[in-house]
């Protein structure tokens, strides 16, 4: 589904990703862990198509097409979703209106029939089972005045409605208390599906107690320095990121 090969990315003239490779197949959950400044969020942003990220080398193939050639909205229509680390507030734009416009724009791009408001309300009701949001939040402006936890739950709710094939969660756990963390994880787990893949970017192992990944990768200094199963996250928690650097001195120094 997703194949990242030797990806080099510069941001504001500085090389952040330095040869990152990763392959994700349908149904898999991959966790990307790493210390601050390793390039975790850069990976999420470059996959979603944010401006200002210059790919100097390498490739990203998604469902057989060159993902980097697509505009952000084309990536969305193709099934790529980024849950933002810092969801933006959009005063004056109603949450439900925005989500319906987004879903219909994607459907239109895929030559699928658009949903009328009645059909959309039905879909929203169904998806509220996945991720509870109060009707009051649905009718407010996008993320305006939402708490940190409400913003993150809104991201997962959007994901539930948009039904992406590849979901990238960029530090969705940051700033959440344990209850909110569990709610978000339950929402994600409910969306796990043999046809859907997740890339879960996180600084802490805690989230992975609730979203159990198939693979864990350690991102350090712009590349993946260690990969393993779910237990790798626990080892990292026990030993810290310095432990990985110690095990891979040559790569960590590169």
């Amino acid at each position: 589904m997703l194949k990242i090969d030797n990806l080099h990315v510069r941001v504001a003239g500085r090389e952040i990703l330095k040869g990152l490779s990763l392959e994700v197949k349908p149904g898999e959950v991959h966790a990307i862990m790493g210390p601050n400044g390793a390039g975790k969020s850069t990976l999420g942003n470059v996959l979603a198509g944010r401006a200002g990220y210059e790919v100097t080398q390498g490739s990203v193939t998604y469902d057989g097409t060159d993902l980097l050639q697509l505009e952000p909205e084309q990536r969305a229509a193709a099934g790529v979703f980024l849950a933002f680390q810092y969801p933006v507030e959009i005063p004056g734009v109603n949450n439900t209106y925005f989500l319906r416009a987004a879903l219909n724009a994607q459907r239109k791009a895929r030559n699928e029939p658009e949903l009328d408001s009645r059909e959309f309300i039905g879909l929203v009701r169904e998806k509220l089972k996945v991720m509870q949001l109060s009707p009051e939040l649905l009718n407010r402006a996008v993320n305006e005045g939402f708490s940190g936890g409400e913003k993150k739950r809104n991201e997962i709710f959007q994901m539930a409605v948009l039904e992406p094939k590849l979901a990238i969660l960029d530090e969705t756990d940051s700033g959440l208390d344990i209850d909110a963390l569990k709610q978000v994880a339950e929402g994600v787990n409910a969306l796990r599906d043999p046809g859907r893949a997740f890339v879960v970017i996180t600084h802490y192992q805690r989230l992975l107690d609730y979203i159990v990944p198939d693979f864990v990768h350690v991102l350090a200094d712009g590349r993946i320095v260690e990969s393993g199963g779910a237990q790798l996250a626990q080892e990292l928690e026990a030993h810290g990121y310095a432990w990985v650097r110690g095990r891979n001195p040559a790569e960590a120094a590169a």
Binding site: A51, V88, I90, G92, F98, A105, A141
Partner: protein, 438 residues
């Protein structure tokens, strides 16, 4: 008067004044014309005209009237507005147009007449209205208006009358053989405890480069209420000077919404006098500019009564090589204790070539005053655009969604809803590439 303004002034002076033979009217018109000729056109050294240069205008000349205006055939569809199907007073190129107007079966308590007809039938009651301002120092276009207005709107609401169906006052600029300069006046009087809803509508039928000069005085007596929506959708080549004066007595309340999208050069001066205790004014407005349009809104609010309130929210969006100007000045006079004055002006630049000048000003000479004002000029937030696009919205749709949201606060109070949606649609349709709106 400098030599440079000669063609413009000469064409105005050559304008044969509407036949009258009424001594007081002839005198007051002659005085006003003399005042205009003496001052000439305002220039950018005048603080109130700092960002709006009239050099191009100086070289133009206009004919004084369109002889065919009163009988021209106009498709009613060009002036129809959803939710506005009550009485209508229509002017074409400054002249009353009976076929487009709907003045039969006026609701009880509402009196609406074209000014020229009232002058012809019984001028004396208008003497005070038409001459009371002659002695005041006024700006050039107000003087020109006093001198040359042939027609206009005369509206009165009887004490206590509640007129809910909006009165549609249409100023239509229609194609003519040569550019026409027309001047029209308006007098709206809302008596004690009465209520009126007006939709002032500047529209276009065909291309032209006319100059329109419309000055309207609104008098709100004790506890009167006025809802006014001003839709300015004039022809792309038109030049518009508008002035709206509001005088509020005690407990009077005006709620204004202004939408500005038309004209090559459009200036609107609003003067709100909160004279009576507890009088209040809400003013809301939005302009959207494209191509090389120039729009200038000047809002002067004077708090004189006690416990008066003004709340002003204005938004501007400028694309292309346009220039938008907003000057909002609030003065709280001595003795106007307990005043509450709020002014917010935010602007959005959609292109490198656009420019917006905003000058909020606040002057306070009273006690226990609550006042706040602020103005910003910015661009669409790239982070927000990316967020919307990452959810699947095409870039242009995302931009339009944000522009609409930006202006929503200014037009959100327009009633009824169909009219609000129409204003919304007009505004978005005026900006380029808006056809992808979901």
């Amino acid at each position: 008067m400098s030599a440079a303004v000669a063609p413009f002034v000469d064409s105005m002076r050559a304008a044969a004044l509407p036949a009258s033979g009424i001594g007081w009217l002839d005198n007051s018109r002659a005085e006003a014309l003399q005042a205009f000729v003496a001052s000439g056109l305002p220039n950018t050294r005048d603080e109130l005209w700092k960002y709006t240069a009239l050099r191009a205008l100086e070289q133009r000349s206009y004919v004084a009237r369109d002889e065919n205006a009163a009988t021209s055939v106009v498709d009613e569809g060009t002036i129809a507005l959803p939710g506005v199907d009550g009485p209508r007073l229509a002017f074409v190129n400054g002249v009353f147009h009976a076929d487009l107007s709907r003045l039969d079966d006026l609701p009880q308590g509402l009196d609406v007449q074209p000014l020229a007809r009232a002058l012809a039938e019984n001028p004396e009651p208008l003497r005070f209205l038409l001459t009371r301002r002659a002695a005041e120092p006024r700006d050039a276009f107000a003087a020109l208006n006093s001198a040359l207005a042939r027609d206009g709107a005369l509206v009165r609401v009887a004490p206590g009358a509640q007129i809910h169906a909006p009165l549609h006052v249409v100023h239509l600029g229609a194609s003519a053989d040569s550019p026409v300069a027309w001047h029209a006046r308006g007098f709206v009087e809302i008596c004690e405890g009465a209520r009126l809803h007006i939709v002032e509508h500047h529209a276009a039928a065909g291309e032209h480069a006319h100059l329109a000069n419309f000055a309207c005085e609104y008098t709100l007596h004790k506890a009167a209420r006025l809802d006014l929506l001003a839709v300015q959708d004039a022809a792309p080549g038109a030049t518009l000077f508008r002035r709206s004066d509001f005088q509020l007595h005690e407990d009077a309340h005006v709620a204004l919404h202004a939408l500005e999208i038309g004209g090559a050069l459009a200036r609107h001066e609003l003067r709100v006098a909160l004279d009576g205790d507890r009088s209040r004014a809400e003013t809301r407005g939005a302009f959207a500019l494209r191509g090389r349009q120039h729009a200038d809104t000047e809002l002067l609010i004077e708090h004189r009564g006690r416990d008066t309130a003004s709340d002003s929210l204005w938004r501007g969006v400028a694309d292309g090589r346009t220039r938008g100007v907003f000057h909002g000045a609030i003065t709280v006079h001595q003795g106007a204790d307990g005043a509450d004055a709020q002014l917010s002006n935010k602007n959005l630049l959609l292109s490198e070539g656009a420019e917006i000048d905003t000058r909020p000003a606040l002057e306070i000479h009273a006690d226990e005053v609550k006042a706040a004002h602020g103005a910003t000029v910015g661009q669409l937030d790239e982070r927000v655009l990316f967020y919307l696009r990452s959810r699947g919205l095409p870039a242009e749709t995302a931009r339009m969604l944000l522009v609409r949201a930006f202006c929503a606060v200014a037009l959100g109070g327009v009633e009824p809803q169909v009219l609000r949606e129409h204003c919304d649609a007009l505004l978005l349709a005026h900006l380029p590439r808006s056809e992808e709106q979901p």
